[in-house]
């Protein structure tokens, strides 16, 4: 028996840093699992797998970094890892990265985050910058080529919002938000963003859990998220946007994830409560300013990193006795907080909705109607408007005398990412009378924007207004479909210009590359293919078929676009003779690779026991077409 001396107190709370990190890890893993399930369900197992691989890479690199570091420092590696918590950094890093981040970039980022973000400062507890934010910022700024094109999910709400200057006037809001299935959908996480910023509900539940467990304190997330909400609301009101804009502002991008998992990082935030409140208000204001003003898609990371630099100063400011100096400290918070909110709002006044929303909001009192009715016209749109943002292209498609026909395409406003960028494309045939320099007709070939909203600009009446218009004339924006109207107008403008100059343009047709094999006996139930007999000559039978595609476009039947094709089958051999696409409902620029001649040719001569190949980057469309072919083959077999 021995009696030991230890200075008092000799009593300890059960909560330990290790337990805090365990709770945090649990929450991060929950968000990660959600992400895996979401991506697998929405985009296919390979996307889910990608999230898993990213996680394995990041956590592996983090632990390896720790191990090497503690080996060099001649410390016990296991104890070192258990008191360094780098896996948390790695998990956060994965969750704030985009799914199309290259694997090597993830590895580099993790190593930078753990080594330069943490270990060089002397390890856990000593670092100045939030290590995960540092790592992510470095991939974002220095490795912009590090995204792989195969994993496309569509523009995240942040990139879309950022390209319109984070300002969406009320009249355009419904159109804008419909791309993501509405605010409710965003709240439940049914949209693509960074890997972790999907389900707002789940993130908030995690936050509540961590606060309840006293793992994080409530002031940081509440003041951070609350301040952003208030600022977004006020800025929105200044520009005629409502509360739904402020909600969108919160739901899009990393604010909630950052608010729960990153601004609450104790190591890099002040240690006093008034200090934290001031820090949170500052970080919130910076987030808003960066979003509104800087050329970055999401402000959260940089706001955190900038505020990290101020942490030591804030700590110093609040050194003292929290009771005796309470009034002084409160005043610091009030003055500092008010100043940063004021600066944000001043910046906010200057926020001009950028292209493609350069024009003032359509002056219609009613919000955008949900059901397409007759288009109603709003503001005038001069045909010589600068449409650069629409990246319009036209190719000569035919000519009869003075009448030239151009096949044009232009950026629309939808969410779908395609090879060229982050916007959907609309395509139209525009005919121009060279002698007068006026458009004679406009026909929409592919409509890539949001059905039910944007398509009001494609109605007959809306298109008719272009007829007889030249560059000096004006048309009118269709209320609630202003983006689409501009997209179409840009094509008309281009066609007129090209006709005047006699240009032809060049077409860059997407070439199909083939990937995995797809057996024709595959179960295509999900595509809901249907075929009806359309004609018959002896053994050769033609079917008009339709099947669900993959576009985001909502139509009457449900939430998917439909593709339609004519499939001709030789009943005597049970093989396909030809496939022709009648109606392509999927995403132009992506899915249409599966509709190219080469892609369709592969079905010829195939029966139900044969295989075709998936077209890379257009796998859903390939399956959609294959499902129709299969149905036609089966139907033909049943025929007399």
């Amino acid at each position: 028996m021995k009696l030991t001396f230890k200075p008092s107190p000799n009593y300890r709370n059960k909560q330990s840093t290790l337990l805090i990190m365990r709770d945090l890890t649990m929450c991060l893993v929950a968000v990660l699992l959600y992400s895996i399930i979401f991506y697998s369900a929405k985009y296919g197992a390979s996307y889910g797998l990608r999230v898993v691989i990213h996680t394995v890479i990041a956590v592996g690199c983090a632990l390896a970094c720790d191990a090497v570091f503690f080996k060099i420092m001649k410390k016990d590696i296991k104890t070192g890892i258990l008191s360094s918590f780098s896996w948390v950094t790695a998990l956060i890093l994965v969750l704030i990265s985009r799914i199309d981040t290259a694997y090597y970039a993830m590895a580099v980022a993790t190593i930078i985050a753990v080594f330069f973000g943490k270990l060089v400062f002397g390890g856990f507890g000593q670092n100045i910058f939030n290590p995960a934010a540092l790592g992510a910022a470095i991939i974002m700024t220095n490795f912009s080529a590090s995204y792989v094109a195969d994993f496309t999910t569509g523009a995240t709400p942040t990139t879309s919002a950022s390209s319109v200057g984070w300002m969406i006037p009320r009249a355009d809001f419904a159109e804008f938000i419909a791309q993501y299935g509405g605010l409710g959908n965003m709240f439940f996480g049914q949209y693509a963003s960074t890997m972790g910023s999907t389900c707002a509900l789940l993130i908030l539940v995690c936050g509540a859990f961590l606060i309840w467990r006293r793992d994080i304190d409530w002031q940081l997330p509440v003041f951070y998220i609350g301040t952003i909400f208030v600022e977004a609301l006020l800025i929105g009101l200044m520009h005629g946007a409502g509360i739904e804009y402020a909600l969108f502002f919160l739901l899009a991008g990393g604010i909630l994830f950052g608010g729960v998992f990153m601004v609450t990082d104790p190591v890099t935030t002040p240690v006093t409560i008034p200090g934290r409140v001031l820090w949170a208000i500052g970080a919130a204001s910076l987030t808003v300013i960066i979003r509104a003003k800087a050329n970055l898609s999401d402000g959260v990371l940089f706001a955190i990193l900038l505020m990290n630099m101020l942490t030591p100063a804030i700590d110093k400011l609040f050194d003292g006795n929290q009771i005796k100096d309470a009034v002084k400290f409160r005043n610091y918070v009030l003055i500092g907080g008010a100043a940063s909110v004021a600066v944000t709002l001043l910046t906010g006044i200057a926020v001009v909705p950028k292209e493609p929303a350069a024009a003032a909001p359509a002056a219609s009192a009613s919000a955008a109607p949900a059901a397409p009715a007759e288009p109603s016209f709003g503001e005038a749109l001069p045909m010589n408007y600068n449409f650069n943002a629409n990246k319009t292209e036209c190719v000569l498609d035919g000519q009869e005398g003075d009448i030239v026909r151009y096949a044009c395409s232009a950026k629309g406003f939808g969410l779908v990412t395609n090879a060229e960028g982050t916007y959907s494309r609309n395509e139209a045939m525009v005919t121009v009378d060279k002698s007068t320099g006026k458009a004679t007709s406009v026909n929409i070939i592919t409509f890539g924007d949001t059905a039910g909203i944007g398509d009001q600009a494609t109605s007959e009446k809306a298109l008719a207004q272009f007829e007889g218009k030249g560059l000096d004339d004006e048309v009118n924006l269709v209320t609630g479909a202003t983006f689409t109207t501009r997209s179409i107008a840009s094509m008309v403008q281009k066609a007129i210009q090209m006709a005047a100059n006699g240009e032809e343009g060049t077409r860059t047709a997407p070439e199909a590359n083939f990937g995995d094999a797809l057996p024709m006996s595959y179960n295509f139930n999900a595509n809901k293919p249907e075929c009806v007999l359309d004609g018959r000559e002896g053994d050769v039978i033609r079917y008009a078929c339709s099947a669900k595609g993959f576009g985001l476009v909502t139509n009457a039947e449900g939430t998917y676009s439909k593709n339609e094709a004519m499939v001709v089958v030789d009943k005597s051999t049970g093989k396909v003779t030809s496939v022709n696409i009648i109606n392509f409902g999927d995403t132009a620029g992506i899915g249409d690779m599966a509709t190219g001649e080469k892609a369709l040719a592969q079905f010829e001569g195939k029966g139900v026991d044969d295989e075709v190949n998936l077209v890379t980057g257009a796998t859903f469309t390939t399956r959609s077409i294959a499902s129709m072919v299969q149905t036609a083959l089966k139907a033909a077999a049943m025929e007399e």
Binding site: P7, P9, Y11, T17, I323, V333
Partner: protein, 428 residues
């Protein structure tokens, strides 16, 4: 502005069930007693010399200072062996009067009982002084000093909160001596000139609350229930909870006088029975002792004898703490004796916690009842940043221990603050 401050307190697992409802052991008097010649904080000159016969209750030490006036009385009858140097609970050698018990129990009454209702306030005050009443909550502050000039006092607070984990001695004492408590509390109220008094008790001690109502309903004393948090029993926290007032130096600035309930009971005993403080209710508890319980021991009994009465130590490496684990001191030697201000021995098995670097979580800041920023004090102390240490008002730290308790990284935060205090005392 409670949004900008933390709770400044915390609910601790009190482990009070270990001892609260066990039978109290009246410990047999030991053969040898060593009465510290510093009584509480009052240094005394002995009134007896080697070879003298003493009786239980006899005054044997006279304080040398008129302010720190707490005379010493013998707990037992027997022979004075001499004055010996022994290690005290403060881990310093100190003089003790060694008395060999003759186990005859011959008793004298050192002073006559008094009817506090009839006596004048001045007579009562003098009685309190002569009877050697002192703060038994741990401080040992002479009681009469608090009441010499009770100007502007509008509230007497009797502290029965006992917020230290493990300790239940006050509780057991109150439960057993309700009548004496009533007398003592009402006498203190008279001394304080306050229009009313409160007995503060933790809300979870239902039986004590019922007993208090029984005793005090119909008097000017009310029962105030406080939440089960630490340090609810600390003066500043208690006064803030009961009155909403904070003060700078003394409770009197908030119009309050505070005394511990054990002090009130001791006063009741002196008034009714004419007996001084020679015995103490003491909690012996913790996972390092075989049979935790409350004991009643004579002042001057060595801690080793008390532990032996409770089944001895459990485990191979223990921390012996005079008092509770939060504010009590660990003493690596069980030869020190129980003094009037002791109210517990906590014995805990010693396990080193797995500690990591400070994660700057700020929990110490949020819970510090004095409103300090312990983490900043520790960081400033490590780099000897005098300017920061000056700003951080380290002298306000009461060493309550909450910052170490709460620290998830298992750092010795409180000790860092003590180091800072010592360092600042040096550079001054």
């Amino acid at each position: 502005m409670s949004i900008l401050t933390g709770p400044m307190r915390f609910h601790l697992d009190g482990h009070k069930e270990l001892t609260a409802h066990k039978e109290v052991l009246f410990m047999p008097e030991p053969d040898d007693l060593y009465i510290p010649l510093v009584n509480g904080r009052a240094a005394c000159t002995p009134l007896v010399k080697e070879g003298d016969q003493v009786k239980a209750g006899q005054k044997i030490g006279e304080p040398t200072d008129a302010f720190w006036y707490v005379p010493i009385f013998s707990p037992v009858s027997g022979t004075v062996v001499g004055i010996e140097k022994r290690m005290t609970a403060a881990l310093k050698p100190g003089e003790h009067l060694h008395i060999r018990n003759d186990h005859k129990g011959t008793t004298v009454q050192p002073f006559a009982p008094m009817d506090y209702e009839k006596a004048s306030r001045e007579e009562l005050l003098e009685f309190v002084k002569q009877a050697g009443m002192a703060g038994l909550g741990g401080a040992g502050f002479p009681t009469f000093n608090k009441y010499t000039k009770p100007e502007g006092i509008d509230l007497l607070i009797v502290n029965a909160v006992e917020c230290e984990p493990y300790l239940t001695a006050d509780y057991a004492n109150s439960m057993a001596n309700a009548k004496l408590m009533r007398t003592g509390v009402l006498a203190l109220l008279k001394l304080s000139n306050a229009p009313k008094g409160l007995v503060a008790v933790k809300e979870d001690k239902k039986d004590l609350i019922a007993l208090l109502h029984e005793q005090f309903d119909g008097t000017k004393i009310e029962v105030a229930e406080v939440p089960d948090i630490y340090p609810a029993g600390w003066e500043r926290t208690l006064i803030f909870m009961l009155t909403g007032k904070r003060y700078d130096r003394l409770p009197a600035e908030a119009g309050c006088i505070l005394n511990n309930v054990s002090t009130a009971i001791a006063l009741g005993n002196a008034l009714e029975n004419g007996m001084p403080i020679t015995k103490k209710y003491l909690t012996v508890s913790g996972d390092g002792v075989k049979d935790p319980k409350n004991v009643v021991v004579s002042v001057g009994t060595p801690a080793s004898a008390v532990i032996a009465q409770c089944g001895g130590y459990e485990g191979e490496d223990c921390l012996l703490i005079a008092g509770g684990p939060m504010m009590g001191r660990t003493i690596p030697n069980d030869q020190f004796v129980i003094g009037i201000a002791n109210n517990g021995l906590t014995v805990l098995q010693h396990r080193e916690p797995f500690s990591v670097k400070c994660l700057r979580c700020g929990k110490c800041t949020e819970t510090c009842p004095s409103g300090l920023v312990p983490v900043r004090i520790n960081m400033a102390e490590q780099i000897k940043d005098i300017d920061s240490l000056k700003k951080l008002s380290i002298m306000d730290c009461i060493e309550c221990g909450l910052c170490t308790y709460i620290c998830p990284s298992k750092l010795d935060v409180t000790e860092g603050i003590r180091r800072a205090k010592r360092y600042m005392a040096l550079v001054k």
